[in-house]
């Protein structure tokens, strides 16, 4: 996984609430057995016209000002619904590495960290200020610094955000958290010994 540190990038605005993972990556694209190549299908039903290939000029992310954006600013409860990790794979593959919203659905939020994506939670007033700034100046670039847990904008908005220390460290260092858990294999084995004594019926073959 790539390390996430500090970057300055275009912030794209998608002012919609309750964006579900079915919209992020539609079911017809879930049949692949690889993790790659989902970006071209991101937001498919909104992004393309009926023919499925012509970009929909009315879809916000198709605006030329938002080309190359790494930051997505969006509404409440982003990523709700299905647990499909294809959603963050598609977001990552499309080019976003940061999502700013007032809230994220639980499973999606976890899935982001496994894929080097930073989901940033801000309060409603801050989100509105960011959205207003982007609306007034499409193509504006924001700077996100994970180390200092801050987002700064040319309009003078400065946001400091919370993030769990363990997750922050994994993102900063691009760590594989399976590897981290495996460092505690002896603890897991000890636990299993106790588990066998406490719940013997679970281990009876």
């Amino acid at each position: 996984m790539d390390k996430y540190t500090k970057h300055t990038s275009v912030a794209a605005l998608m002012n919609r609430s309750n964006v579900d993972t079915d919209q992020i990556i539609a079911k017809q694209f879930l049949k692949k057995v690889e993790r790659t190549g989902f970006g071209i299908h991101l937001f498919h039903d909104w992004r393309f016209l009926e023919d499925g290939v012509t970009p929909n000029p009315d879809f916000e992310l198709n605006k030329p000002e938002f080309a190359g954006a790494k930051i997505l600013v969006t509404g409440d409860n982003f990523g709700c619904g299905s647990s499909r990790e294809h959603a963050p794979w598609a977001i990552d593959d499309y080019g976003f590495n940061t999502i700013i919203s007032t809230s994220f659905a639980d499973i999606f939020y976890n899935n982001c960290f496994k894929n080097g994506i930073l989901p940033i939670v801000v309060d409603a007033d801050t989100l509105k200020a960011l959205m207003d700034e982007i609306s007034a100046n499409e193509g504006v670039e924001y700077t996100v610094d994970l180390e200092s847990q801050s987002v700064t904008t040319p309009g003078g908005i400065s946001v400091s955000f919370d993030i769990d220390g363990f997750r922050k460290n994994n993102l900063l260092n691009g760590l594989d958290d399976i590897g981290l858990t495996l460092e505690h294999t002896d603890k897991i084995a000890d636990y299993e010994e106790g588990h066998k004594k406490n719940f013997p019926w679970l281990w009876a073959s």
Partner: protein, 469 residues
Amino acid sequence: MAKTMYEKIWDAHFVHQEPGQAPLLYIDRHLMHEVTSPQAFEGLKMAERRIRNPHSILATLDHCVPTKLSDRINLPDPIGAKQVQTMMDNCAEHGLTLYDMQSRNNGVIHVVVPEHGFVHPGMTTVCGDSHTATHGAFGALAFGIGTSEVEHVMATQCLPQSKSKTMLVKVDGKLSKYSTAKDIALAIIGKIGTAGGTGYVIEYAGEAIEALSMEGRMTLCNMAIESGARAGLVAPDEKTYAFLEGKEFAPKGDGWDQALAYWKSLPSDDGAKYDAVIELDAAEIAPQVTWGTSPEQVIPVNKSVPAPADFDDDGKSLACKSALDYMGLDAGTPMTDVEIDFVFLGSCTNSRIEDFRAAAEVAKGTTVPDRVTAIAVPGSYLVKEQAEQEGLDKVFVEAGWEWREPGCSMCLAMNGDQLKPGERCASTSNRNFEGRQGKGGRTHLVSPAMAAAAAAAGKFVDIRELEQE
């Protein structure tokens, strides 16, 4: 100190916490299907890691599988066929139990797992599927995970987890005979919203929950995720034990007695504290129907489609406007005037034998109008067999329904069963998102009896009035 059931299960599965890291939680059961697992197996292989406990895993094929018998031998979709084959290869390579399409045990993961007693009270259970919450009906801490976490559990039998907050949803009073667990689930989501449970594990309790069958409790917990909750839980009781006893993976002999003693220690202690408490009166829960594109956009069937101006919150008002556009509905239209084109009876929410009995009771002697397609998709072959033994298949077929093979089918429309743009569906599934049942398709979530009534009338019906006619 008095503990909630969630805290008891958490404490019993806490493995270790390294300073600066998240607590590691031990995982007892790992459920799998073909869509969210292939990349996890691939990751395991690339890292040269092995599966720590293959016996903790039970797998099925359900999301991609056709529900027409003729399509089940040679899958018409080559990409879906590859996914199915990959699952079979992975299970064979690692020695995992798989209920493939030829197995009598095949069906939707959250239907087949309880049928075989694979998840017990007090277990931690995960699956790369958000509806894993279903198994909370047994008093198990069951939640959906992403594919990276599927790989994590395979390799370590653990997951780094942060502790959730607890919410008690207390439903007292008696449900009318026309309302079901599905209506309770929708009424709760209508009250707290689709993000109302975010960060919480919900415990459902109260007289109306205790009165539910195990099937009903599965329906209720299944939709915990639609309120944003990590999991839903119902305390195990005599119904739980009776359901599990004798099942293939249920404890036997002395093991049963040991397990039972443990299970009885699980319900939340008197005086246990919750971070939030929500109360509903079951007697006031009418049959529900969703009108929009989020499960929180739901009303009693005798009400009319709301207008954006009915919502104080700007976001909800905007969401109402966009939902009405997508759904092709005018504000103020009585729900019982809304005509449908399709009916889907199935999904991990409502495809158990009790659901088919309830729908068949309403469908009996009716005729589905020519312009309406109605499909009945059992959750498993065991449900299908049971329904056929009871003659329910004939009731549906005589009423003009299609009687299909088991699978997820039109709940997420991955297998070829789907709506055409603009088609309107009364569906017993769990999500009415835009395009969920096919691009441009319009989904209304209802209970099985409400779906059967809609199939007969070609429009939504208040089933409370049906019987009085």
